[in-house]
């Protein structure tokens, strides 16, 4: 059961050091909802909006980053990057103000077989969706995390504490970790560890061109791969048919059949 509830903001603060740098500005939003919704799965998301004005009108989808519950009630955590109108207004909201949230929504990542050590590949703010998967798998994963530049990288310390296998950081400009795209890194990583290719599983979340590259890579190597897709959303519950992606079985709704799809299903256009 997903729910539509009001939630008070308990925190809404920058998460990266030099967060004012263009395209890097990222925030952590912590909400304490009036009513505790059902626990979510990694990869699921919430639609978040306000009702103070009709501009912006629609809610925006954000992956659930962390969930806690205590005797006093539950908490929902999100990581978001400033993109356009909606996120710009969200960052102006203060502790104590309320937002409306709808969720949890979508399918979430399917769990891997116990004997596998999957490779998680996050690009940019995709970290928000893969981090809880890494937690759920108790860090028994390899984690490749890429961004355009150092400032865009989030949760590095938390990742270092969590990931039990390889953690490889990369940036397009080489300002931190390896230089190159996360797909370059993936390529090198699997070339160095050929034993992982055949038996393994990839999970990826990030910008669409990256997902396409990861999917192609997975197809070439014959590795099973799950990717979390992004599309503009209106309803978030499967009613408007606005968020579809083309799959080999026709258009599917990112909000309902997704956001996580087996990469071989997607028809890239």
């Amino acid at each position: 059961m997903s729910k539509y509830i009001r939630a008070k903001i308990t925190e809404n603060t920058p998460v990266n050091k030099d967060h004012t740098l263009l395209g890097c500005e990222s925030y952590r939003l912590v909400l304490s909802p009036d009513d505790i919704p059902q626990r979510s799965l990694p990869g699921q998301f919430y639609m978040i909006g306000t009702d103070s004005s009709y501009d912006p009108l629609l809610k925006r989808p954000f992956s659930i980053f962390r969930e806690t519950s205590s005797a006093e009630g539950g908490e929902l955590q999100f990581l978001y990057r400033i993109k356009g109108k909606g996120t710009k207004l969200l960052k102006e909201m203060r502790k104590g103000e309320t937002v409306n949230v709808l969720g949890p929504l979508g399918n979430g990542y399917p769990m891997p077989d116990k004997n596998l050590t999957p490779v998680l590949i996050a690009g940019g703010i995709g970290i928000a969706s893969l981090f809880p998967l890494a937690e759920k798998l108790s860090g028994n994963i390899h984690f490749l995390y890429g961004a355009r530049t150092k400032n865009e990288l989030l949760m590095l310390n938390e990742l270092k504490g969590l990931v039990k296998k390889e953690l490889i950081i990369s940036t397009d400009d080489g300002s931190e970790g390896e230089k190159g795209t996360v797909v370059d890194v993936l390529n090198r990583f699997l070339t160095l560890n050929p034993q992982l290719s055949t038996l393994n599983l990839l999970y990826s979340c990030g910008p669409s061109p990256m997902l396409e590259a990861v999917s192609k890579f997975a197809a070439e190597k014959g590795i099973k791969c799950y990717i979390s897709m992004e599309e503009s959303m209106a309803c978030g519950v499967g009613a408007c048919l606005g968020c579809t992606v083309k799959t080999k079985k026709g258009y599917k709704r990112v909000c309902k059949e997704g956001p996580v799809f087996p990469s071989e299903e997607i028809v890239w256009t």
Partner: protein
Amino acid sequence: MDLTVNIRKLKLKNPVMTASGTFGYGEEYSEFVDLSKLGAIVVKGLSLKPMEGNPSPRIYETPCGMLNAIGLQNIGVKEFLKTKLPYIRKFDTKLIANIFGNTIHEYVKLSRILDDAGVDGIELNVSCPNIKKGGIFFGTDKKMLQKLLSTVRANVRNAVLITKLSPNVSYIQEFAKIAEECGSDAVSLINTIPGMAIDIKTRRPRIANITGGLSGPAIKPIAVRMVYETFRAVKIPVIGMGGIMNSSDAIEFMLAGAAAVAVGTANFVNPSATIDIIKDIESFMAENNITDVKELRGAVKI
């Protein structure tokens, strides 16, 4: 307090219905809305065969509104009857099927199938392209509309027949009159208004289909004006929609002349919008000593 309204022979428990295409087949919102509380459920537009719809992006937010070009993706009438109709029938509400075809023949066939299946109402979406005449729409061509409606009318026996008018005309009341003359039981308006947005960085349209239909609060003043004009021109009931977000908006449409209202884009903003609107209309009536919601119909003071 009497909240019932009649769309001719169809009695609704209250004047609030869902707008086609914004409420799926009812099921999608069943977690947030007690479907039995709704005046009626109008389902996503149906065609004879399943339709794929348009490529992405299909939606784009604009100031106080949104563009959509879903491309009438739907499961087709057969699948609808098999899986969706039985589901909605479990609830104590009325079911109105929204349909569209490429030819008059397709509309007739669809209406017959649905009428036979016992739906309560059939809403004809006449704003979709007529493939035969390439780019001419039933909804903006009076002769085509006349031909379509009189043919369909002769084929529908039990369901109430509603014509959903296109706002993309100079005088919508003239089209409403045609609907009335051809035996439509009611007209519903407005459908979305064609619009466009361009990404100045990529120089591409924001919607893959180039243009899309504008809905939401942005269009409300246009919709209220059209309902007002239509109400004064015809005797059949008018179902009003276009940017209704709350009970005040719904009441505004009723004052302009709407017998019932449909809630569209608001469902996306607030999944329980329909229920909130019904409740708040009741409170408004209580506060203002209105015992029958029908008193509001066309009661604007000029």
